[in-house]
Amino acid sequence: MYKRLAALALGLALLCGCGAAAQPQKETETVQAAQEMRSTEFFAMDTVMSVRACGADEALLAQAEALVLSLEEELSTTREGSAVYTLDHEGHAELSERAAYLLGRALALCAETDGALDVSVYPVVRAWGFTTADGSYRVPDAAELDALLQNVDYTRVLLDGTEASVPEGMEIDLGAVTKGYTGDLLTALLRESGVESALLDLGGNVQTVGCKPDGSNWRVGVKDPAGEGLLGALAVADKAVVTSGGYERYFTDDAGTLYWHIMDPRSGCPARNGLISVTVVGDEGLYCDALSTALFVMGTEDAIAFWRAHRDFDMVLVTEDGRLLLTPALAERFTPADALRYETAVIADA
């Protein structure tokens, strides 16, 4: 009898699955996990990463870490000998299949976002001092920025099969898509190995595989860009949740002006177009990662227009004037934090 009931409860939990998503506030945790949750944590890509997977063994977790490290070796802008480093320093490089795929997708997204995302903005970011960890920030003058902007133009990056080349003086950086893509490859690795429930935290990029072992949604907090706390929590399953905010890396000059690391490729200056944080929720990490940066650069109006034209992702926007804007599908998945200081509104469908 007990066995039967347990089997039934398990069956129901599986059936309901992430169906509990519709009513996140009534999430019920039914049966305890049949398999153990195992996790690993490591430093890679200049950040802390963790992989928590239900039913994974040590060998699989080691494989996951090795996958991340091999991607870093290939895609790092600063590591001598990486494909991207070679491309930037020699003007051309033979890429692996996966690096070529990533560059191809990144270039397509640069075009899709009308240059709000531009993989060739790297020398500008470096001029501001955001590429090193030693805190040597500075405000480049207009002449310097003008000169650097001459070589910012993703349309001049050539990709033919796995062969890539850039013109003299141009350097690219895939940092805006690498972590998202890494999450997608990790997700594929875990899925192929039979894992149906996992949570990846790649330095703040959260990607979920399936639902939680008990069949309920994962609860993913979203950082408040203006403080130490949270905006609230999102109930999600099988989604990537990627946030870009001005709070990650920034400095202030003597006059107190704040400069952050997300550059507007058109001006060569930090993007200040009305947004202080963008969270993108979608099926693919790469896409969410690229969009979180691109929408931040676009600003409030254009980000909303982009969402209306595409509708293949959801987003949480926080504006400089204190508003929190959600796409309709997130309205019922989002639980705001207590005493939230933002005026919350749902973005109109059209």
Partner: protein
């Protein structure tokens, strides 16, 4: 036919009861006060901040050179001093009960809430 229907009803009732029970048991998240000081994946210390009576500090050294001084006060913890190039860990201030963990990348040090409360992760 009747038998099947009875079973379905029974199952539904059992599932509902189970659901309601666990909702009541697990519905209220408890704020965590236990923090972990982790270096390169190894937990060095576990500190229950609610049990701290007097302020104290300790130094965590990184084998490749460098150190962080961790300050513990009743109910809170921060990195008070560090000789890492960026000093971000110090700038982060006190560990928040709901935000991001304190991280010193150069010294691979992480100070975080144990269990991270009721959340599974934080997008930031």
């Amino acid at each position: 036919m009747l038998k099947t229907r009875t079973w379905i009803l029974l199952f539904a009732a059992a599932a509902l009861a189970l659901g309601l029970l666990s909702w009541r048991l697990l519905g209220t998240p408890v704020e965590g006060t236990v923090v972990e000081v982790v270096q390169d994946g190894v937990v060095l210390r576990e500190i229950d901040l609610s049990a701290v009576r007097e302020a104290y500090s300790f130094v965590v050294t990184w084998p490749d050179g460098g150190s962080n001084t961790v300050l513990v006060e009743p109910g809170r913890i921060c990195v008070a001093e560090a000789d890492c190039p960026d000093g971000l860990c110090v700038r982060q201030g006190w560990l928040s009960d709901r935000g991001a963990p304190l991280v010193c990348l150069p010294h691979r040090l992480v100070i975080r809430l144990k269990g991270e409360g009721a959340l599974d992760g934080v997008s930031r």
